[in-house]
Subunit: 339 residues, 2 copies
DNA sequence: TTAGCTGGGTAAATCGTTTTATGCAATTGC
DNA sequence: GCAATTGCATAAAACGATTTACCCAGCTAA
């Protein structure tokens, strides 16, 4: 197997008996070459297996065909595959596949703002940033370098931004609450996270609004996302202090799993003694006993929209960039009262 | 926020009143500059926030600080996050983290041999290829382009290769079989996959050897990896045809899950009626009912070794490149006979 | 006749680095 | 006292593309 140096534009030009400019123009539909010459060059290039070097091209054009993805909540956890959080992996996987459809590929970048970062980080064409928090340093960094980006979830600090894709968390929350109410719950406790992102904010607002409309007293709790199941477990005594709720709606899957566990230890089993639902679907909610009703945020759809928007922006277009994606309630045993 | 063009080596040189060569040499510990000059340049560069452009550097050096990872078994599945297969995701995640320790970052490349591939694919510093099959086209491609790579699992077609890291599958298989035997099994059926990779081959060989040593008749079955749980389920009637085995050792987790299900439907429950163990640990084996005894291949350790080896190679060293990693048997209920 | 256009092409600058080949004092060796 | 070495620094080539500016022959229009 000959370690043959890759064929360059110069080689193609030599073989075709033209200048390298001609080759570049032929292959990029630029310049004023005759159609015959173009075609001839294209054929020769193809025959020689020529493929433009991405680095050289990127150096000139400053587009390299790669976008980055930053999973903020996992940055915070400093663990990129925590058990029970498959939303981000599904999203990242789907984003990678969607990127290919746009001739891009996707590179996961860990923690853009601390420590040594991949050398390529600032040469990427653009970024997807999931669930930025208010005044997110990653967003600031990208802004300051004028690197295009799209956020998954609105940036709470930038109400007028127009480069986001988000699940319709307000609608999803109301759907879940309505479902619990239909199954007989009246006194519904809400457990959110502490990150200052739009996902927490929108869901809380929707919960408070929903309670106000029905004139019931809201019972809102918060637990840091980073604590995972323990965060949910530890919340339960406090939650029970104010009386056993008819239902609990927990935004994160790990909190829900912890809540379910601690409630069981206290003798409360869903759906007999209380109803339980969760704001994001995950392996854990599916395999829990009983399986937990959850909202499928449809990460695949979100990923497709997000990447499509970013691809448009990197191409220099100025698309309408505020896109809401409907999510879907998956009803499981934990919230179904037998009638 | 000014869209300031990034600071280049030229800017630093101008500010320091030296040539760009001096800056390059100072920052890369090359050349013959005086230590004072070096230090002065380093300070100025740091103060200006200079960071060498990865593309330009890569163009010259042909090292870009990024390695690729190709997950062959997932290429075959054409689904990069199949439920029940968390081994590869754990491996990829751990590899990304390990890469950072070597100043590299990791990019997942889907299916290097078909369709349009990321433009950067052939400019990467090297590749990790998981579980190559015999005459794997991806391996051939990398060879022909003389791009360095390390395989996870030996390449069955290249017995003399010295660029692999692998779990010690022969030892692991014997450990699992011994464990089953200790719990009373004598007639142990083995279910492998059909991919022609070293993982299947080594485990099968170990099984056959183990049986021969004990003078028992081997019962070896194979089912395509791609069929997943269904592959395990469909195998069960055939398996039972030759009598109910004392124990079943299934290499893949998805097959094991399918087998467990179909066995239950036939009225056979582990560990009462037969013992069950599995050659790779996964979410599914942990959460199955009963939980399934499995081998933890320790993907984190494998990833660390694999990336370390590749990093050495890309730096131009010629390290000893055959590394076996011990795996660990995790005993769960499915294989424990009460005494 | 000549200035101006047009079609088809090329030379050279450019992107931001690294690396190789030089240059020039000051010092050393004999 | 002169060649050789040493120490420090720079000029210029190279990497492989894209893009800008230019060239030239052949027409057209006045």
């Amino acid at each position: 197997m000959a370690a043959h140096r890759n064929v360059t534009i110069k080689d193609v030009a030599a073989r075709a008996g033209v200048s390298i400019t001609a080759v570049s123009h032929a292959l990029n539909e630029k310049g004023t070459l005759s159609e015959e010459t173009r075609e001839r060059i294209r054929e020769i290039a193809a025959a020689m297996g020529y493929q433009a070097d991405a680095l050289a091209r990127g150096l000139r054009r400053s587009r390299i065909g790669v976008i980055g993805i930053v999973l903020r909540p996992l940055d915070a956890l400093a663990d990129y595959s925590p058990p029970g959080v498959d939303y981000f992996l599904r999203f990242a996987g789907a984003a990678a596949v969607s990127a290919l459809d746009h001739g891009l590929s996707l590179m996961q970048v860990a923690d853009l703002v601390k420590g040594p970062v991949t050398p390529l980080a600032f040469s990427l064409d653009g970024y997807v940033v999931t669930d930025p928090v208010r005044d997110d340093p990653v967003v600031d960094l990208l802004e300051s370098r004028s690197i295009p980006y799209v956020t998954l979830g609105r940036d709470p600090g930038k109400p007028t931004a127009s480069n986001w894709v988000a699940s319709d968390d307000a609608a999803a929350t109301r759907t879940a609450l309505d479902h619990l109410a239909e199954n007989g719950a009246r006194d519904i406790a809400f457990v959110g996270g502490t990150d200052d992102n739009s996902w927490n904010a929108d869901a809380e607002d929707a919960y408070l609004g929903w309670c106000a409309e029905r004139d019931v007293t809201p019972r809102l709790f918060r637990s840091p996302e980073g604590l995972g199941e323990a965060g949910g477990r530890d919340l339960v005594p406090r939650l029970l202090d104010s009386g056993v709720p008819d239902a609990i709606y927990s935004l994160t899957g790990r909190h829900a799993a912890g809540i379910q566990e601690a409630m069981r230890e206290q003798g409360y089993i869903a759906p007999e003694h209380y109803l339980l639902a969760c704001g994001t679907d995950a392996a854990q909610t599916r395999t829990a006993e009983p399986p937990i009703t959850a909202i499928d945020l449809r990460p695949e759809v979100l990923a497709r929209e997000t990447v499509a928007l970013l691809a448009q922006i990197t191409r220099g277009e100025s698309p309408e960039g505020r896109r809401l994606v409907e999510s879907e309630l998956i009803v499981r045993r934990s919230s179904q009262r037998e009638r």
